[in-house]
């Protein structure tokens, strides 16, 4: 019967091309706009390391100014970063399964390759554990070990893309590249890794590209590299030399740990609290105890990675879908009340109320499918427009299979909801009323 009903549906819809066009168009526009907004939101709210995100924690210690909180509007927050002293101290703990301290720097890279000019790029100063911590696979070689970190040896890990640029993609382990005019030995080449959002450092743009160059901890100190990310200081202290900078209360380090279960997490929280209490006796940490451990999802939430504007747009486009829904109800009323004589005749010929109801639902469903396709086209167009408006949103404005399925499903659902009342109204009336010839 479904095939029969489908054929009838197509015939019926073709008979009223303007009305059908309006219905499909209204649903399409509503679904298109809604899906475009939902896509950007969904991709922005993405958890790029979902298989591990529950075990990865960002560490925050409240070493800030006793006179005022880190954020006036959200006084419960601790600073996003740590001081050098605290980052170094935390590295001594063996409680976390893995851990890495890190910060972003700006460097000049010189390749030994002919014709490649020196260029400036960003790099990350971090522990060798960084790669295992975030499950970054290696193409060649491997990360450096703790000894290299502590000694500040000039080793480097580069990304696959950087390896292409510097070494033409060959196995470059052991080869040299000049960074800040010093020779660095390549320890490993990582697979392409660009999490969206860049959860481990959202300070300067949660959708920035990941760094392509990584150097060990000690290198930052050896080359006296300041942070190219955010540095914030509150204390009235002299900070003129690099050494003074290291010993200051300025926060510029990010810290991530891996804690496999709740017991570990609690133990680590205790450790943090104890550490800070000890530091308090030395005159530091004048604010009340406020150490935070946030897993990736919590971190993305508290950092408000999904922009408010996007959330607002999702809501407004949902209201727009509502308008389209009510509009479609009106259009369907027009359509189906116009079909009343047809339905009356079928009923007179013996079709049950349920049968004509099913027949009309198939017609409604057909409109839903057509509207879904129209909506997808519009969503695709809208996303192209969004990519034009926001050049940095390349990865954030793309339809994937899940979203396509959602669009079709949403369209059919919306259309069915819209069609319920009109179809019921027409199928429930006594056939005689519509068969009247006078």
């Amino acid at each position: 019967m479904i095939r029969y009903y489908t054929r009838l549906a197509v015939l019926s819809l073709r008979q009223t091309p303007l009305l059908t066009g309006l219905m499909v168009g209204t649903i399409g526009v509503g679904i298109g706009v809604f899906m475009a907004a939902l896509t950007v939101y969904y991709l922005m709210a993405n958890n790029p390391i979902s298989w591990k995100s529950e075990r990865l924690y960002a560490v925050q210690l409240d070493s800030w100014d006793p006179a005022e909180p880190w954020d006036d509007e959200r006084p419960e927050l601790a600073p996003w970063e740590l001081t050098w002293r605290d980052a170094m101290a935390l590295r001594e703990s063996d409680l976390p399964l893995r851990q890495a301290a890190m910060y972003k720097v700006s460097i000049v890279v010189q390749s030994e390759r002919e014709g490649v000019k020196p260029f400036q790029t960003v790099a990350r100063v971090t522990d060798g554990n960084f790669f295992a911590l975030f499950d970054i696979p290696f193409v060649y070689g491997s990360a450096w070990d703790r000894a290299v970190d502590d000694a500040g040896q000039f080793q480097v890990v580069i990304s696959r893309k950087m390896n292409e640029e510097l070494f033409g993609g060959e196995d470059s382990v052991g080869r040299t590249v000049r960074i800040q005019d010093k020779p660095f030995v390549v320890a490993g080449v990582t697979e392409t890794w660009n999490p969206v959002p860049k959860f481990y450092d959202v300070n300067n743009g949660p959708f920035d590209d990941a760094e392509e160059v990584f150097v060990p901890m000690g290198v930052g100190r050896a080359l006296e590299l300041y942070s190219a990310g955010n540095t914030n200081c509150w204390k009235d202290e002299e900070v003129r030399t690099y050494q003074q900078f290291l010993e200051s209360e300025c926060v510029w380090w990010q810290y991530w740990v891996e804690l496999p279960d709740v017991a570990q997490r609690d133990a680590y929280q205790d450790y943090l609290d104890q550490y800070v209490s000890e530091q308090k006796t030395l005159g530091r940490f004048p604010r009340p105890l406020n150490n935070q451990l946030s897993n990736v999802a919590e971190w993305l939430d508290v950092r408000r990675v999904v922009r408010r504007d996007n959330q607002v747009l999702v809501v407004l486009s949902f209201l727009f879908l509502g308008v389209c829904l009510f509009n479609t109800i009106g259009l369907m009323l027009t359509k189906f009340l116009g079909k009343a004589p047809h339905i009356g005749i079928r009923r007179a010929l013996g079709a049950s109320r349920a049968a004509v109801f099913r027949q009309q639902l198939v017609e409604v469903g057909a409109i839903g499918v057509a509207g879904g396709i129209a909506g997808l086209c519009l969503a695709w167009l809208s996303l192209a427009g969004i990519r034009k408006l926001f050049p940095g949103y390349e990865e954030l404005a793309q339809l994937d299979l899940t979203l396509v399925g959602t669009a079709i499903a949403a369209s059919i659902l919306t259309t069915l909801v819209a069609g319920l009342y009109p179809v019921r109204r027409v199928c429930a009336t006594a056939p005689a009323r519509y068969l009247r010839l006078q």
Partner: protein, 400 residues
């Protein structure tokens, strides 16, 4: 005016009017809030930065190699850049205003713990700073060659600074900031030698955007930016010359980031601009869908009531009475929707304010939105109403 019978009839056949009223309510709520947000964003984007943004070129130099001498490099670069025909002025800076990157600063009007701390942003600039930015110097003077210092670190306090009027007024509400000293967190003084009428700083969403300090330093480090201001209309022609000049006179550094200041400003306002455009499109679509809905339902309603309309004409209605009837009927429905919509508009705004920290709605937007919706409803129903008026009174005597 037959309000009573129209209302009573509408109540007995509620579905059509209700559908329209709901659409109108939702549309008004979104229209009012949408237009408000758009207007806010446009205001933000078009507010006066104080600088001659259209005529400024920015470029970054990043030195490498053991022999790279930044101070010498800056001197040479500025000399060469200023020599390019069509260039009005050029200066060095550690960050570009409006780029989203900058160094915050806290200063006080007097030494001691009790003095209030006022925040803003600082730029380390060179001679021709005022001319390169295109800002208006309200009082005092810009930087001379003698003022420029080359400190070994950035931890000290500058001898001389230029402030924006906004910051100066915050520090010294009674006025007369020129010549006075401001103090850093270690109570070290700097003298205010110039006051800018207005200038915007680094972060466009910062509430102290207008608090800017210029410091006549060239700071250590390998990187610097140059701001090059050109004669009006010359910018695009001169741009490639800037890069070429710098690359030519010194190969020991990377020349990158050649951009117009306009592009940098646009990038900072990308979010606001995009939001405004998207909202405009969605709001326009919504109004269009509602208008089409009104036209559709009104046409349908006219076709359903052909006999009734003919009868009215037969018993004495003129054409304009029929038009008036439909306009009135539509106006009643629209007004019902508008009442619900006004409440919805305020509710939506309240929710946007509390949940998303948007601005509270200027109340005038609601009546303005109501007028727009009324006009929209009238225009939408005009066609069907005129068609209804053309129905012949002879329809009343037909038996089919």
């Amino acid at each position: 005016m037959e309000f009573g019978p129209i209302w009573r009839a509408a109540m007995r056949n509620r579905t059509g009017p209700l559908l329209i009223a709901v659409q109108i309510a939702l549309t008004l709520a979104v229209l009012v809030n949408g237009v408000f947000i758009i207007q806010q964003r446009i205001e933000r984007i078009t507010r006066d930065t104080g600088m001659d943004v259209e005529n400024i070129i920015t470029v970054q130099s990043f030195g490498f190699g053991e022999e790279f001498d930044k101070n010498e490099s800056v001197r040479q670069d500025l000399e060469a850049l200023r020599a390019i025909p069509g260039v009005v002025a050029a200066t060095s800076t550690q960050h570009v205003p409006l780029s989203g990157s900058g160094w915050g600063n806290s200063i006080k009007p007097a030494p001691g713990e009790d003095a209030p701390t006022l925040n803003g942003v600082r730029y380390f600039m060179n001679t021709q700073a005022v001319e390169s930015l295109g800002v208006t110097l309200a009082e005092g003077r810009g930087f001379d060659a003698d003022d420029i210092e080359y400190p070994e670190d950035v931890g000290g306090a500058p001898r001389q600074v230029i402030l924006t009027r906004a910051w100066a007024d915050e520090l010294f509400p009674e006025g007369g900031a020129l010549g006075k000293a401001i103090y850093d967190n270690l109570d070290r003084p700097s003298t205010v030698i110039g006051i800018l009428e207005r200038m915007h700083g680094a972060w466009v969403s910062y509430d102290k955007l207008e608090n800017v300090m210029l410091i006549p330093w060239v700071i250590p480090g390998r990187a610097t930016y140059y701001l090059v201001r050109t004669e009006p209309g010359q910018r695009d022609r001169i741009m490639p010359q800037v890069e070429e000049t710098l690359s030519r006179i010194n190969g020991q550094r990377v020349v990158k980031g050649l951009e117009t200041h306009e592009e940098i400003k646009a990038a900072s306002y990308e979010g606001d601009r995009g939001m405004a455009i998207i909202l405009a499109v969605v709001t326009a679509l919504m109004v269009a869908v509602t208008a089409v809905g009104i036209v559709g339902l009104a046409s349908f309603s006219v076709r359903q009531r052909v006999k009734q309309i003919g009868t009215r004409r037969a018993i004495g209605a003129r054409r304009r009475d029929i038009v008036r009837y439909f306009l009135l009927e539509n106006w009643l429905v629209t007004t019902g929707g508008v009442v619900a919509g006004s409440v919805a508009a305020v509710a939506v705004n309240y929710w946007l304010v509390t949940r998303y920290e948007l601005e509270r709605l200027d109340p005038l937007y609601v009546p303005a939105g109501i007028v727009v919706i009324w006009v929209l409803g009238l225009l939408a129903v005009a066609g069907p109403a005129r068609r209804a008026a053309r129905i012949s009174p002879a329809v009343a005597t037909r038996t089919v």
